[in-house]
Amino acid sequence: MFPNIFYMIFMCSMVLSSCLRDRKVAHQLTGEGQDSRVEAAPPSQGQVKRKRSSLLKNSLAKILALDPKGMCLELGRLPCADVVHKVSLGGMDAYGNAQYRYPEHAAATSAMSLDRLVLSACSQRAGLDLLNPARAVIFKDVELSVDGRLMKTEAVAQAIQTLYQRAFLRNPTEGEVQSLLDFYEAVYAEQSIGAARNWMVLSCYSVLTSLEAGFY
């Protein structure tokens, strides 16, 4: 019984293709055969998803070590992520509103709803950390002068480090750290009273409303 000729051609082509692919991968790993002037390819683009209301709430509560139920309440009583901004934040309301699918698109209110959720949470965290710096979660051991200014100690950069680690499981780049340190100077120049607290709240806000925090 003779082997099928088409089958043999197919098998040969598969082997050849595999060899060529392996060689290409090897060249990519070693840089062999590549023009040294060509920059490394950017990180590959995977599937990007929006963090929806419950995921946002839970991750924010974890990052900032806050009670998710009390983290953001409109008028001091209406839960933000579970009720008021649930759909705006990408959630679904099947029982309450016969809405059986997640919204496909961001609503006009989505970014503002995220702002409210995060700002409320960050205000709480900053307040708690200021109240008890030794047991602080983000702004640990950050010191304030008697007139409310931020004392430039190592703890400030460490707070930024902690914020990034808790939020993104990575260290901030030097540039990110410097941007946030410079931001304090800008905040102080704009409004010296309460500058330290405002810086804490707004640093937290600017990181946790960023694209890296809102998507995964």
């Binding site: 008021v84 705006s88 309450g96 016969a98 809405q99 609503a107 990575r170 960023s210 694209l211």
Partner: protein, 516 residues
């Protein structure tokens, strides 16, 4: 429970004076002319709200789409028939003669009836349609139609797209594309299921896509990123933080570097870039329908209760508690505050109960709305038609009392389209007063507007079958043997609203336009 103490009358003669008369004009309108509300509180109210309208611009037209979820039968409202008018009354869905009210010079009808229960649901029904008819008959137009689907979501969607009449564009999208340029949110949608679907026309301008609103009571909170949050930094500092995020932190983020071109990310960046427009418009306060109270302490959070909250509460006494009244109120506010040109709302699928009288609560929405006709047709239709018309009465009253421009009210430029997916069976088991019905594509739609051919029934009802028949699209003359398509109704509505439909291939339906 609705309290109506005054005899209804048509809209007042000297409308311009009323519109400009602030509180006194309004109270005359509400107490004397309209009479649905006990409005002593309104006498103390401030001025009627006025939108910020530039009179040099061409006037916009406003479309309200009311989704009558579940199948609102035209044979149980404006095209109802008396037992004496048909040959076989015992097996058709017709009413004892005394329950049907007519009005001189019009074929429009109304059903006033009461029932002890809604099938197995032990709630009384008292339904009065005649008040609405006598008050608005000059603006009510009924056009017969035969749909193409008896599946709820599909039929709902087709009721607003005319069954793909214009490249899948919904009525609301077409109106928003034409009349909504320059508005922040031209098209808002508070409805559900098929009435909440986006159209499928890829060529639609992005500003005309509907903004979905899950809960109208909470919607205004999402109109600002930080106002009303205790301890929020100043505007200037918030701007600085946003700039820090957008211009310094995000460009350094490896995640953003890798994914900036992603469509979701781009969409988010675009939406974020517009948020200042909403915030600067102070819509968080201007769209807030509520007064300050212990439960809603706006002032404690540096937010403002509605300036006309007494007026709104008088018009919508169950604002907040009643989802339909709350939707109608947001529809009113979003249009008169210059945010929107088309608002969609309507009955939901969920049961709602008016429990103000704890000893005798009233059902305000049946499970699955009009579709509860499968269990108890007559009482379901009666209850819900009453509820629909009562809510629209309140909305129209406010629109009439609010000046749009040059002495004309918002109502002068508005249209309400009661969309429904289909009608119901025309027959019943012999002599049953309460009976179940299935779906029937044959039905009619209700359009209420000063721009529509008001006071008219376009088409008619066959006396032997109760099936509706169509009309000549140019003249409006009834044509037995003709059925009007969803596409024709779609075209007629848009043409009455002066939407430019050139190139759409839509038929001309002049009969639905009011003759000037």
């Amino acid at each position: 429970m609705i309290r109506r103490t005054k005899k209804p009358e048509p809209f007042a003669l000297d409308r311009r004076r009323l519109l400009r008369g602030g509180a006194s004009g309004l109270s005359t309108l509400l107490l004397g002319a309209s009479g649905p509300f006990s409005l002593s509180a309104c006498l103390k109210s401030g001025e009627v709200q006025k939108g910020k309208i530039n009179s040099s611009e061409a006037p916009r037209k406003f479309l309200f789409v009311f989704g009558a979820m579940g199948g609102a039968s035209i044979n149980d409202s404006f095209l109802a028939r008396r037992e004496s008018e048909v040959k076989t009354p015992s097996i058709l869905n017709v009413f004892p003669d005394q329950l049907i009210k007519g009005i001189d010079g019009s074929d429009l009808r109304a059903v006033d009836m009461a029932a002890d229960a809604i099938g197995a649901l032990p709630f009384p029904v008292k339904a009065v349609q005649s008040r609405f008819l006598s008050k608005y008959h000059q603006d009510i137009m009924v056009a017969t139609v035969s749909g193409t689907s008896v599946a709820h979501p599909t039929a709902q969607f087709r009721s607003v797209t005319g069954h793909d009449a214009w490249n899948g564009r919904t009525l609301q999208e077409a109106v928003a594309a034409h009349h909504g340029k320059g508005l922040l949110l031209p098209n808002i949608n508070m409805a559900t299921v098929g009435y909440a679907e986006h159209g499928t026309d890829a060529s639609l301008p992005s500003y005309a896509i509907a903004e979905t609103i899950a809960d109208p009571a909470f919607f205004p909170f999402g109109m600002h990123g930080y106002k009303g949050i205790q301890g929020a930094p100043s505007d200037k500092l918030m701007n600085m933080a946003r700039n820090l995020r957008d211009q310094q932190l995000e460009p350094q983020s490896p995640f953003v570097q890798a994914n900036r071109s992603n469509a979701l990310i781009q969409e988010w960046i675009a939406a974020r870039s517009r948020q200042r427009l909403f915030e600067d418009s102070d819509l968080i306060n201007r769209l807030n329908p509520f007064e300050d109270s212990k439960d809603l302490p706006f002032k404690d959070f540096n937010l403002e209760p509605n300036k006309d909250s007494e007026l709104l509460r008088a018009a919508f006494p169950d604002l907040g508690a009643d989802p339909l009244q709350t939707q109608a109120c947001l529809a009113y506010l979003s249009i008169t505050q210059g945010l929107t040109c088309t608002a969609t709302f309507g009955l939901g699928m969920n049961v709602s109960v008016d429990g103000k009288d704890i000893d005798s609560p009233l059902l305000t929405n049946t499970p699955t709305a009009f579709d509860y006709s499968h269990n108890a047709h007559r009482s379901t239709q009666a209850l819900l038609w009453h509820r629909v018309l009562d809510t629209l009465d309140r909305l129209i009253t406010l629109l009439k009392a609010t000046e749009y421009r040059d002495g004309e009210s918002y109502w002068d430029h508005s249209m309400i389209y009661i969309a429904t997916e289909f009608g119901r069976d025309k027959k019943r088991l012999a002599n049953l007063r309460e009976f179940p019905t299935g779906h029937d594509v044959n039905n009619g739609v209700v359009v209420i507007s000063p721009m529509a051919q008001g006071g008219r029934v376009l088409g008619g009802v066959d006396g032997e079958t109760l099936q509706t028949y169509g009309f000549n699209p140019e003249t409006g003359e009834p044509e037995r043997g003709r059925q009007m398509s969803e596409k024709e109704i779609y075209a007629g509505i848009l043409q009455a609203l002066e939407v430019d439909t050139s190139g759409s291939g839509l038929p001309s339906v002049k009969a639905m336009r009011r003759k000037s």
